[in-house]
């Protein structure tokens, strides 16, 4: 048994399986003379056929397991593989100069890569990556080096990787991938969020996993503690199998609470809602008995494609979610891109501080057509359920007023055209910028609700980049500074008879829940998989008793003191 590794516990649960290293092999190409160019061309043709056969399988699997849209990328790769302007010159080069196929491929594809990379359009630049991808696949066949496709995994494994890109994760099959470990990333990175959606344990930011773990080695991931154990002895395996069954049993117990309302021990009701990214997540929301959707992140509709989604495409997605929720509250956040979330087809200038730059509502107000299209789709879908619209990254009251005025204009136009729109749509804001939390009393007079986005509120309040591991110690949800802001927001909402929710990671945290319950938070929105655990916890807590502790908690001086105190009372 090797000494344990550790990282950030990104998704709970325990997994025990063989390691599967997802790596990018170095494919080095050297120029060589060949004696028989015809044979070399035949060798190249074989590699093309093998790569094409492989791509067809991947395309089919992706279409079956994910969607036709995600599979389309591999269709484009197949076309590159049969492109006469790429394949023809490679063969000519082999026969004219008697060079090896690898070299001819490298040289010819380089020409195209350089050409695409030089184009002044971000979308076209990205196409260079597609050519590189196809070249890598071809080279691997020519050189006899195996490259891995996560979608080809067909036995139970734990995936080990430097990092998982969104396209890698799209190809992971939850049936076989029992968990994953990445060397970089934090609790809010894309791969961590995906692990919680798929409900598989994950440890991220492990730093040395790729350097330490070999393919096929037995690995245990403890997604509760962030521990990784390599080559465990039989006693350790037994111990973790027991922990795993205890965890599974607890999950089964929570499942009984699925159709129960969320009530504190003293009978007070709060709403437990779920965060979703796509209509596909609806199944999880219903399965875990969430009482609503507290955050529908619409940007996923805009990602992983090559043009903006049309109004009708958006209408379909929103309608599906609203119908699926069957009248339960559904908070849809308007487009939040910019910052770390880029769109390949929207050529925005690079910014020095993207998290402080043109993102979310700022971008929408700058590009009103983009915003109006989304609002029209939402308004048209509103008749299918209980829609609430939420603007992200609001810093000033003017931004909220502008957004609301545009919404009113689009609504009036639709009604004029005879298109029905619900007349009970609440319009609220995300509170994630300290200026808005401080001014919550002013906002509360005009908004219908607040939803506190803690991931960003913490990063902006502490001035600590949440993607930067070296300052991750400053990501302190329990710092009294954050808790005081949260209290200001909740109190301001209640004073005007409005409701306040929270949709950041903090809302599902077992230390935060007693504090938030005591502060009077009305709605807690979290990963669907956390809902039942939170419901069980709240049923054991008295809201009145928790409220009696808040004065003391807010007067504490540090995050550590708050944590210690809450552990003592709950």
């Amino acid at each position: 048994m090797t000494s344990p590794l550790s990282g950030i516990a990104a998704s709970t649960g325990i997994a025990i399986a063989k390691a599967f290293r997802l790596e990018n092999p170095e494919l080095t190409v050297e120029q060589q003379q060949v004696g028989n160019p015809a044979e070399e061309i035949a060798r190249f043709d074989t590699a093309v056929a093998q790569a094409a056969a492989e791509l067809e399988v991947i395309q089919q699997k992706t279409a079956q397991q994910i969607s036709d849209k995600e599979a389309a990328i591999f269709g484009a790769h197949l076309l590159v593989l049969s492109d006469p302007e790429l394949i023809g010159p490679i063969k000519e080069r082999i026969s004219a100069d008697s060079v090896n196929a690898e070299f001819a491929l490298q040289e010819t594809s380089d020409m195209f890569i350089t050409m695409f990379e030089a184009m002044d359009n971000e979308y076209m630049k990205e196409r260079a990556a597609d050519i590189k991808d196809v070249r890598k696949r071809l080279l691997s066949h020519l050189l006899g080096v195996k490259i891995q496709d996560p979608s080809m995994i067909d036995e139970e494994v734990i995936v080990i990787a430097e990092d998982l890109t969104p396209s890698d994760t799209v190809q992971l099959n939850a049936q076989f991938v029992k968990g994953f470990i990445t060397d970089i990333g934090g609790r809010t990175s894309h791969s961590a969020i995906l692990a919680r959606t798929l409900e598989i344990p994950a440890v991220v930011g492990a730093q040395n996993a790729m350097a330490t773990i070999r393919n096929g080695q037995m690995v245990i991931i403890d997604g509760l503690e962030g521990e990784i154990i390599i080559d465990p002895d039989s006693a350790t395996i037994q111990q973790f199998e027991q922990e795993k069954s205890a965890y599974d049993a607890q999950k089964a117990e929570w499942a009984k609470l699925k159709d129960e309302p969320t009530l504190s021990a003293d009978g007070q009701h709060v709403e437990l809602a779920a965060n979703i990214g796509t209509p596909k997540d609806l199944a999880g929301v219903l399965e875990h008995g969430a009482e609503g959707i507290g955050l529908y992140r619409t940007e996923f509709l805009y990602m992983g494609r090559d043009a903006f989604p049309t109004e009708d495409e958006q209408f379909d997605a929103y309608s599906k979610v609203l119908k699926g929720m069957n009248g339960k509250p559904t908070v849809v956040r308007t487009l939040d891109i910019g910052g770390d979330k880029e769109l390949t087809y929207l050529d925005l200038p690079k910014e020095l501080n993207p998290f402080l730059g043109l993102r979310a509502i700022r971008l929408c107000l700058e590009m009103p057509e983009l915003f109006r299209t989304q609002l029209r789709a939402l308004l048209r879908a509103s008749v299918h359920g209980n829609l609430k619209i939420m603007f992200p990254m609001i810093a000033t009251i003017e931004e909220f007023r502008q957004g609301k005025a545009i919404l009113a204009e689009e609504k009036a136009k639709l009604l004029d055209a005879g298109i029905p729109v619900s007349d009970s749509i609440e319009v609220g804001i995300m509170v994630e910028i300290p200026s808005t939390a401080v001014m919550a009393d002013v906002f509360a007079k005009e908004v219908d609700f607040f939803s506190i986005g803690t991931n960003d509120l913490i990063q902006y309040t502490m001035a600590a980049d949440r993607m930067n591991e070296r300052v991750s110690y400053l990501y302190q949800p329990f710092n009294p500074a954050i808790l005081r802001l949260v209290k200001m927001v909740i109190d301001a909402a209640h004073k005007e008879g409005k409701w306040a929710g929270m949709c950041g990671e903090m809302a599902g945290d077992d230390i935060a829940i007693p504090i938030l319950l005591g502060l009077g938070l009305d709605e807690f929105s979290m990963s669907a998989s956390s809902v039942l655990k939170a419901r069980a916890q709240i049923s054991r807590l008295s809201k009145q008793e928790m409220a009696s502790h808040t004065g003391h908690i807010l007067a504490l001086s540090s995050s550590q003191e708050v944590e210690a105190y809450v552990k003592g009372i709950s």
């Binding site: 269709g75 484009a76 076309l79 590159v80 006469p84 790429l86 195209f112 050519i131 090559d306 043009a307």
Partner: protein, 89 residues
């Protein structure tokens, strides 16, 4: 040889998905088929060639087919351009 001009009406220009559909649908024809834009000509059977032109919305392009099945090829191109919303004429 048959030749025809089209105005690109897709607001994103000719990007990967429609270009793939277009290129994929004509590979079976024997005729030589070219796409001309801005003084440059590329093989329409080449996805990289088509993409390399970076054709934006509103551009006018010329498509020419030359060979035994040129008429059938042009009819197919017409159909795909409309079906994919690349051009409506």
């Amino acid at each position: 040889m048959v030749e025809k001009q089209y105005t690109i009406t897709d607001e994103a220009g000719i990007h990967a998905r429609p270009a793939s559909a277009l290129v994929g649908s004509i590979s079976k024809f024997q005729s030589d088929i070219t796409l001309g834009f801005n003084g440059k000509q590329v093989n329409l059977k080449s996805i990289l060639g088509v993409m390399s032109l970076g054709i934006a919305s509103g551009s006018t392009v010329t498509i020419a087919a030359d060979g035994t099945d040129e008429e059938e090829a042009m009819a197919k191109i017409d159909e795909v351009l409309k079906a994919e919303g690349i051009s409506n004429q």
